[in-house]
């Protein structure tokens, strides 16, 4: 379980995250929604160790993980993906996946020089694992392509695949569906549900596509202006006055209400 307590992250005078508190239950697929500029990605950046918080705490399973470096969080099973997919462009898709698991026996120069057998066995194990992940994500045919050459949607799948190379506990997905076509989005959605059910991954998903959120997520948290506005099931959050206001503005909200009353 991740608990975020009264988290602040300011950029100069701008309060990107302004006292956000929330909980992500173990085993859930928690959706994080909110209008653009609500502070969702900044929250991810702080929780995942890319930015230090201005103040506040992040606790994972009872342990304070505030301000830890990304590679330390990785070792604890906390992973994230990026809004704009990142990849090692000069390596193949398979190599991209094989990069992930840290601290293998090939890590030490001594082993690399003098225990070639052990390193080779490890490489083989990694390669099999990577192939299995690609199979799971239905992109086996891309294994030997350079990662810079695959499509945007496929890169998103690769991002998801990266989290499958290790036994992640909790994965933060930042707009995993942005710029992805419907079919591929369904593939991604299925993969998320299966990982959640079969391997017990906890997910926290930022997404603007409400159908996608409705299909996968429970509960849903809505942020606006750096604060948490509402939390609950999709329906509850969708019908929350403050949420509607945050998305549409007060004027438009009244108009929508009027129309609803007349129609």
């Amino acid at each position: 379980m991740i608990v975020v307590e009264n988290l602040h992250r300011h950029f100069g005078g701008f309060r990107a995250v302004d006292g956000a508190s929330l909980k992500i239950e173990t085993g859930s697929i928690t959706g994080l929604i909110g209008p653009n500029g609500a502070g969702k990605t900044t929250l991810f950046n702080v929780v995942a160790g890319r930015l230090p918080p201005t103040s506040g705490r992040v606790v994972m399973d009872g342990e304070d993980i505030t301000g830890m470096a990304p590679h330390e969080l990785f070792a604890k099973g906390l992973l994230r993906t990026f809004q704009i997919a990142h990849e090692f462009g000069s390596m193949t898709v398979r190599e991209n996946l094989m990069m992930v698991p840290a601290a293998q026996s090939g890590e030490s120069l001594w082993n690399a020089c003098f225990r070639r057998g052990a390193v080779a066995a490890e490489e083989k194990r990694l390669r099999d694992k990577a192939d299995e992940v690609l199979e799971f994500l239905t992109i086996s045919h891309l294994a030997d392509q350079r990662a810079s050459n695959i499509s945007g949607g496929q890169k998103k799948l690769l991002e998801l695949g990266r989290t499958m190379m290790v036994d992640a506990k909790i994965v933060f997905l930042d707009e995993v569906g942005a710029g992805v076509n419907r079919t591929l989005l369904n593939t991604i959605g299925d993969a998320i549900v299966r990982l959640n059910k079969e391997r017990g991954y906890t997910f926290c998903v930022i997404e603007h596509d409400m159908d996608f959120i409705a299909r996968l997520c429970n509960p849903v948290i809505c942020m606006a202006e750096g604060k948490v506005l509402a939390q609950g099931t999709v329906e509850e959050v969708k019908n929350d006055e403050r949420v509607i206001e945050a998305y549409l503005g007060t004027g438009l909200k009244n108009k929508v209400k009027e129309e609803a009353a007349h129609g």
Binding site: A48, R50, A69, P70, H71, F74, A75, L79, R80, F82, H86, E87, F88, G89, S90, M91, M99, V100, P101, A102, A103, Q104, G106, E107, S108, L109, A112, R162, V166
Partner: protein, 334 residues
């Protein structure tokens, strides 16, 4: 016969010195390019890192010589190399921990780091002069020639001698071994792959559980080793003067930029391109021309395109031409 003589003269005065100098530049440029790839700044202190390492190697060489230890026909300095590398690695790691790390924490812009490295350069510059002084030092020993001129002339009956100095042969062999080891390291070992990944995409590398401190340390150690080896080979081949090493920074950078900053293959190609250009443009071609051309066309002058004083200008010109027409270098760096 004349044609063969011309060929031998060409080999002797252009190709062999060019290749030796190119190997030295390539090793230096590899260090610059690795630092650029991983730490994302141009390390102006690299020339003085070479000087510092070489100075330590020279002191150990003297020590070994005073103990009567030698390396047979090979220069004693090769035995002193590991000590020079260890001392230089310690120095750059201390510099990193004390100085560069602070700026990384601040997420300083690359240009700030470049200026910082210029500061480090001046300090190292002074340090080297403090340790070993400013005089010219010749520290090569062992056999002077692998192939000397008279043996060659006697064996082939040509008028032109072909000379291969031991230091030249050592330079080429050591450079080949270093480059092979480096590429094996970058391609095959986990740490090498981490370095490539880090250079490719820092954010993602961090997310893949790669420890950035470790990658940075390994990069510094490798860059230091390459700098010391390059500096020692250059010193063996020519001589050691701190001032000259400071100036070597320019051709080393030109080599790294020509090949494409961040690309190890590019650094090697760049090293040879810069070195051969320097030699070809400043060599007096009269001798070769006299052999090849008929007597009526024999040149009066030296047929030297540029005086050797303009050697430095060659690197500068290459640098400017590449930046104008191919800003990312031949091998598409950053």
């Amino acid at each position: 016969m004349d044609f063969l003589n011309a060929l031998v003269a060409l080999l002797n005065f252009v190709v062999i010195p060019g290749v030796a100098y190119g190997s030295q530049l390539a090793l230096g440029a590899l260090g610059v390019t690795l630092i650029f790839g991983v730490l994302r700044f141009s390390n102006f202190a690299h020339g003085d890192t070479m000087a510092f390492g070489t100075a330590i190697v020279i002191m150990f060489t003297w020590l070994f010589q005073s103990w009567g230890i030698s390396f047979g026909p090979l220069p004693t300095a090769l035995l002193a190399l590991p000590f020079g590398i260890a001392a230089t690695a310690a120095l750059v790691l201390a510099t990193d921990a004390g100085i560069y790390k602070f700026y990384r924490r601040q997420k300083a812009a690359p240009i700030i780091l470049v200026i910082v490295s210029a500061g480090v350069m001046f300090v190292m510059n002074g340090l080297v002069r403090l340790i070993i002084g400013v005089e010219e030092r010749n520290f090569t020993d062992g056999a002077r020639f692998l192939l000397d001129g008279n043996t060659f002339k006697a064996a082939t009956g040509l008028a032109e001698p072909l000379v291969i100095k031991t230091t030249v042969a050592v330079t080429v062999v050591v450079a080949v071994i270093c480059v092979a080891a480096l590429f094996w390291f970058l391609q095959k070992t986990r740490t090498g792959k981490s370095m490539r990944a880090f250079s490719d995409n820092e954010d993602l590398a961090l997310l893949s559980g790669i420890n950035p401190d470790r990658v940075v340390q390994v990069t510094w150690i490798i860059a230091a080793a390459l700098a010391v080896i390059a500096g020692t080979l250059y010193g063996l081949d020519k001589s050691f003067r701190p001032f000259v090493y400071f100036q070597l920074l320019l051709p080393v950078f030109a080599a790294a930029v020509v090949g494409g900053l961040g690309s190890p293959l590019g650094a090697i190609a760049g090293g040879y391109i810069v070195a051969l250009s320097e030699v070809v443009l400043t060599y007096a071609w009269k001798k070769v021309a006299t052999y090849v051309l008929p007597d009526s066309l024999a040149p009066d002058g030296l047929m030297q395109l540029l005086s050797t004083d303009y050697k430095v200008a060659v690197s500068f010109s290459i640098l400017i031409i590449v930046l104008l027409f191919m800003p990312t270098g031949i091998f598409k760096g950053k």
